[in-house]
Assembly symmetry: C2
Homo-oligomer: 405 residues x 2
Amino acid sequence: MSTNTVSRPLTRESVEAAHQLITAHIHRTPILTNTTLSQLASTPQTPEALRATQWEGQAPAKPKMRLFFKCENFQRIGAFKVRGAFHAVLRLIEEQGIEEVRRKGVITHSSGNHAQALALAARTFSIPAHIVMPSISTPSKIFGTRAQSATIHFSGSTAREREAVVAAIQADTGATLVPPYDHPDIMLGQGTVGLEATAEVAELLAASPQLGIAGKTGLDALLLPCGGGGMLSGTAISLYNTPTRVYGAEPSFQGADDAQRGVEAGRRVESVKTLTIADGLRTNLGIYPWEIISKKEYVNGMYAVTEQNIKDAMQLVLERMKCVVEPSGVVGLATVLYNEDFRRMVEKEAAEEGWNVGVVFSGGNTTIEAITKIFADEGTSGEELQRAQGTLGRDGKKTAENVAG
Amino acid sequence: MSTNTVSRPLTRESVEAAHQLITAHIHRTPILTNTTLSQLASTPQTPEALRATQWEGQAPAKPKMRLFFKCENFQRIGAFKVRGAFHAVLRLIEEQGIEEVRRKGVITHSSGNHAQALALAARTFSIPAHIVMPSISTPSKIFGTRAQSATIHFSGSTAREREAVVAAIQADTGATLVPPYDHPDIMLGQGTVGLEATAEVAELLAASPQLGIAGKTGLDALLLPCGGGGMLSGTAISLYNTPTRVYGAEPSFQGADDAQRGVEAGRRVESVKTLTIADGLRTNLGIYPWEIISKKEYVNGMYAVTEQNIKDAMQLVLERMKCVVEPSGVVGLATVLYNEDFRRMVEKEAAEEGWNVGVVFSGGNTTIEAITKIFADEGTSGEELQRAQGTLGRDGKKTAENVAG
């Protein structure tokens, strides 16, 4: 029994309607610019930097870019996920009426940002929220979800164990499942970030044209992180047939680049097991997002970055911009700075003139402890980090799958 | 041969004139608010939190506050220091003419934010800048200053050795010394942060009154970090005889609370040797700042916080606000959250109504490496951190004094 609203068409108009619905409940997050990072993006990488990559020995690309950061790390609960969660809940209320939704409640299985986002949206309308999470989830995640007054149900950590607990609660309460990404209402909600980013950059350039490429009034491109694909597909829908091209970025570690691989093969990758430090992007692409992301006219290209690229980008943002963005949130910037395929594409497409490039910082939910783990020892692997975060058993056995979302 | 401009009177009008002079060269940094931190500030500390403090066994204060953060961590070069540096250089140009200033150049001895700020201000007007820093300064500080096209001169690390190098360069070039804080032009420049903070909060409250205490249109109080005292004294001048009271915050570690001790004793403390993690606040109060800070009608009170208070505040800002503020920059917030003397004063003065409290985040110049050192091991002392930053010899002997500024 998934969110059973009547599907809205997957169009820009539907994203605009979603924005109308949720706008009172979300922050309009700022666009930041940074001269140093724009200069860095417009400086060719050194031949040394390309050593031991697939571009070793090739001439570094020379793109020209001005960067604009859409800061969803400053969003409520620290991530864009509130957009989709509020939209899904408000659509349920529209369709079923508030009393019915309050009587039945909502449910999801997630230990990540989506759980807190759904709990917040439900609490806002006095709707019971049931969050199913593995019993080995970190105390900080349990605490963060409890703080939103949700009821937490613990389960084993395989997908099957979680689904069994969800089914039992649904049988008992009639709660409606609100999935983290694989649903049209979630996609349309997350896609509102694309409307805001393009509108805000246009406003910014109208007031301060020197921040952008001379003579340009908006974004030429927008890069977004891609895990389950809810935000990327929703944004691609919101910007379909506009001058702003949409690109996706994902980690390459242990096959986390499933969207890129799927697009190349013409077939969705149905399972991924990766422990990339970008823990919000460990999941594979959902079925509904795939339908959009696999179409070139929606998403112009998918790019992947290494763990080191992610760490380097995160460090630059923290030290130069004085902002905290979680590893999953910086894969767009890492692509801009380090992925030669993307950089060559910009050099070719934008030519001498250059591009105004938007980059979505999708979230900022990390901790001093996690940052210390990531950077204290250059040898720290995603697996060690995972263990530190409590989603791996001490013996290193993977005890949770696709906990992202 | 120090900055030898004709002294402006130390009045709000002079700070306003300084603001006019520098405004094209600095960022108007934002005011941020954060519901969680305002709630935390308005929640009494637990008896456990007061254990082993001077307030152990006493009833925790119950102040009511709404917090407004003036984010100088987003300022150019990452700290408020550009305000004073641009003002000092522009005053020199006014008095001596640009050609004369270009012929002679400017000089300072600092390995901190002031060095980069002066180098940037000088470069802006094509004025040669000489920066004298200890030869053991960290590579990142040397690099940051070089990036502003300054000429770096290395010296030994005692004050006497540094002064000898400065004197030799002045004899050679005629360069004018621009000190980091102990000069009226620097104080008037730094004081512009007070004008901006109060004006911006008033604008914010006019648009969004729900962010503040009901019915109030501005700041009741403003807290600033105090090292040499340039910013605190300048801001106290800028807000003299206005409804906004000014308070100073400093570390207590190893006698770093020299301003509070001096005010209590009625006599400036002339020397401090501390290795507090708030490395921008290791210096003692300057002579000119003392004249203002020692007067109750300018600065209503001085408060000190522990190393642990500073770490806790820094962690809250990073994890909750997703912002990076250096240890020196969070002593104001640490005071608001953890100093019972301050909290009782607010409870008493603000009564039932509560106060709108401004807190200046003075800078954000820290690194992943420094954060890792501070937090990786709860046992890390300022001394270990200092060694990691390269200003202590391996044997732990102190090899630099008052490198802050």
